[in-house]
C-alpha cells in the first residue's frame, strides 16, 4: 500500500527569509502523526502549502502515490484559530464544507445534525459561536472538519487556545473519537504531552528555517488512558531535550 502523504525536501521562502528548509515526512493511511516545533518555525506554513494557500519553492508532495497537484482536495483543514463564522449558527458553521461541496443547505444540515451529540454540542445547533465556550468552539470546528469526509485531516493546534483543564479533556475526547473512526491525521502542536498522548509518530522540527530534527515513534498501546505513565514520561523528556537543546541532533 502506498503512503497516504509524503513530503520530500519541501522548501518555502518569504521574500529572502527561509522558512522551510527541506521538510521530509510521511503519513500512512489510518495513522495519527504530529508535528512538534517551536513557535514561528513554519508549521502552519506546511499546511498552507498542502491546502493550496501558498506555493512552495521546491520539493515534492505526493498523495496516495500521486503528485498532490493531480488530486482533488484530499484534505479537511482546521485552521489554527477556530475560524468559525460569527454570523452563522453553529449548525451552519459545521455544515459549511458540505455546502461548499455543492450540497444544499438543508441537506448539509441533515448530514451534520446527527453528529451533534457525539461532539458534545447537542442543543446548541441554533446558537451562534459567540454563545459557545472555548472547548465547544473547538469541537464545532472539528466537526466542521471531519464531516467533509476527506481522506485526511490537517489539524493546526486545535487545542492551543484552551485552558489546561479543558485541553486535557479535549485530548482524551479526540483520542476516543480517533479510536472509533481511525481518521488519517496530521496534527500540529507545540504541546509535547499532547503529541505523545495522541500520536503514532512525532516529527520534531527545528527553529526557522525549519527542518525535521527527529522522527520519534510512540509505541504505547491504545487506548491510552494514562497521560503520565513512565513510558510516556520518558518519551516526553526525550522530545523536550531535543526541542530545548537541538545541537546534538543537528551534528549527527
Amino acid at each position: 500500500m502506498s503512503r497516504r502523504l509524503e513530503l520530500r525536501q519541501v522548501s518555502k521562502r518569504f521574500g529572502d527569509i527561509d522558512v522551510l528548509a527541506g521538510i521530509t515526512l510521511h503519513v500512512e493511511p489510518g495513522e495519527f502523526v504530529s508535528i512538534l516545533g517551536p513557535s514561528g518555525a513554519g508549521k502552519s506554513t506546511i499546511f498552507s502549502l498542502l491546502t493550496g494557500g501558498l506555493e512552495g519553492h521546491g520539493g515534492d508532495v505526493d498523495f496516495d502515490g500521486r503528485p498532490l497537484a493531480d488530486t482533488r482536495r484530499p484534505f479537511a483543514f482546521m485552521p489554527q484559530h477556530d475560524a468559525l463564522m460569527p454570523w452563522r449558527t453553529v449548525i451552519d458553521n459545521t455544515a459549511l464544507g458540505l455546502e461548499v461541496q455543492g450540497m444544499s443547505r438543508k441537506a448539509a444540515r441533515g448530514k451534520v445534525a446527527p453528529l451533534f451529540g457525539e461532539f458534545g454540542l447537542a442543543g446548541f445547533e441554533q446558537k451562534y459561536p459567540a454563545q459557545l465556550s472555548g472547548g465547544m468552539r473547538q469541537r464545532a470546528a472539528l466537526l466542521r472538519t471531519v464531516v467533509q469526509d476527506r481522506a485526511m485531516l490537517l489539524l493546526d493546534e486545535p487545542f492551543g487556545a484552551l485552558d489546561a483543564l479543558t485541553r486535557t479533556g479535549m485530548q482524551r475526547w479526540l483520542q476516543t473519537m480517533w479510536d472509533r473512526h481511525r481518521w488519517t491525521v496530521l496534527l500540529i502542536t507545540h504541546d509535547v504531552r499532547e503529541a505523545v498522548f495522541l500520536s503514532d509518530r512525532v516529527y520534531v522540527l527545528s527553529r526557522r528555517p525549519a527542518s525535521v530534527l527527529r522522527e520519534i515513534a510512540i509505541p504505547l498501546p491504545r487506548p491510552r488512558k494514562d497521560l503520565a505513565s513512565p513510558e510516556a514520561s520518558a518519551i516526553e523528556a526525550d522530545i523536550l531535550n531535543t526541542l530545548l537543546d537541538p545541537q546534538p541532533a543537528e551534528r549527527t
Binding site: 491546502t51 485552521p79 475560524a83 463564522m85 454570523w87 461548499v100 446558537k127 451562534y128 459567540a130 454563545q131
Partner: protein
C-alpha cells in the same frame, strides 16, 4: 422574578441609557430659554425655544409639506449612492488596480466645497429632484465605498484559508465570508452617511428648490423669522435622529449575532 419588578427594572435600564442625553439636551434648552427671556434680547434675533416650539406647532402643515420633499431627496439620493458604492466596491474587491485608479478622484470629490458646488449643480440640472439626488450622493458615496472596501478587507484570514482549502471559488469566498465580514463596517458607514445625507439634501434645496426644508429656511431667514428657521432646524434634527434610529434597528435585524459577542450561553 415577579413581572412588575422586571418592568420597573427595564424602565430604569432604559433611563440609564437615554437619561444622560436627555439631561444634557434639557440643560442646554433650559439655559437658552432663560437667556432669551431674561436678557431682553429681541425674538427676531434669538427666539426662545418655547417660541420656536409654538411656531413649529402652529406652522406644522407648512413644515410637513416642506419636509416630504426633503425626505424623498434624502432617501432617493442615498439609495442611488448606496447602489453605486456597492457595485463599485465589489468591482474594486475583485480587481484591485481599480482602487488606485478611482480613489484619488473620489478623494478630490470630497474636498469640493458644497457652498460652491450646490448652486452650480442646480444651475445645470434645474430645480427638480435630480440635483438633490446628485448632491446627497456626492456627500455620502465615498464614505460608503470606503466602509465597504475596508469591510471586505477585514475578513479573517483563517476563514479565507479555510474556504480556500474547501475548494471555494473567489466568488464563493466573497459571498460566504467577505460580504458578511463587511457588515459592521457597512453599518458604521451607514450611520455616519445618513446624517450627511440630510445635510446634503437641505444644502441642495437652499441653493434652489420649489419646496423643501432648505428653501423654507432660506425664505424664513429672508422674512426675518429666525423662529421659523429654527423650527425647520428642529424638524431636520428630528428627521436625522429618526433615520439614525432606523439604521440601528435595521442593523439589529440584519446582524442578530452581533449583540451576543462576548455573551455566553444565553
Amino acid at each position: 422574578m415577579s413581572q412588575p419588578f422586571s418592568a420597573t427594572l427595564r424602565i430604569a435600564v432604559l433611563f440609564g441609557k437615554v437619561g444622560p442625553a436627555l439631561l444634557s439636551v434639557g440643560t442646554l434648552v433650559l439655559a437658552w430659554e432663560l437667556y432669551a427671556r431674561l436678557s431682553g434680547i429681541s425674538p427676531t434675533t434669538l427666539p426662545a425655544p418655547s417660541r420656536v416650539l409654538a411656531q413649529a406647532i402652529q406652522q406644522r402643515q407648512a413644515l410637513f409639506d416642506n419636509t416630504v420633499p426633503t425626505i424623498s431627496a434624502t432617501l432617493a439620493g442615498f439609495a442611488c449612492s448606496l447602489a453605486v458604492a456597492f457595485i463599485l466596491s465589489v468591482l474594486i474587491d475583485f480587481f484591485n488596480p481599480l482602487r488606485r485608479a478611482l480613489f484619488p478622484v473620489f478623494i478630490i470629490s470630497q474636498t469640493l466645497p458644497l457652498v460652491a458646488i450646490a448652486p452650480l449643480v442646480v444651475l445645470w440640472f434645474g430645480f427638480g429632484l435630480t440635483p438633490k439626488i446628485m448632491l446627497v450622493a456626492l456627500v455620502t458615496f465615498f464614505p460608503m465605498l470606503v466602509a465597504l472596501v475596508q469591510g471586505y478587507e477585514s475578513t479573517d484570514r483563517d476563514i479565507s484559508a479555510l474556504l480556500n482549502s474547501m475548494g471555494a471559488s473567489r466568488m464563493r469566498i466573497f459571498r460566504l465570508a467577505r460580504l458578511p465580514s463587511s457588515l459592521p463596517y457597512f453599518f458604521a458607514g451607514l450611520r455616519i452617511s445618513i446624517t450627511y445625507a440630510v445635510v446634503g439634501a437641505i444644502f441642495a434645496e437652499y441653493a434652489g428648490a420649489a419646496k423643501g426644508l432648505g428653501i423654507y429656511m432660506l425664505n424664513a431667514k429672508n422674512n426675518f423669522r429666525p423662529d421659523l428657521v429654527l423650527a425647520a432646524v428642529l424638524v431636520s434634527a428630528l428627521l436625522t435622529l429618526a433615520l439614525f434610529a432606523a439604521t440601528v434597528l435595521i442593523q439589529r435585524v440584519v446582524m442578530p449575532w452581533e449583540r451576543l459577542d462576548g455573551a455566553r450561553k444565553s
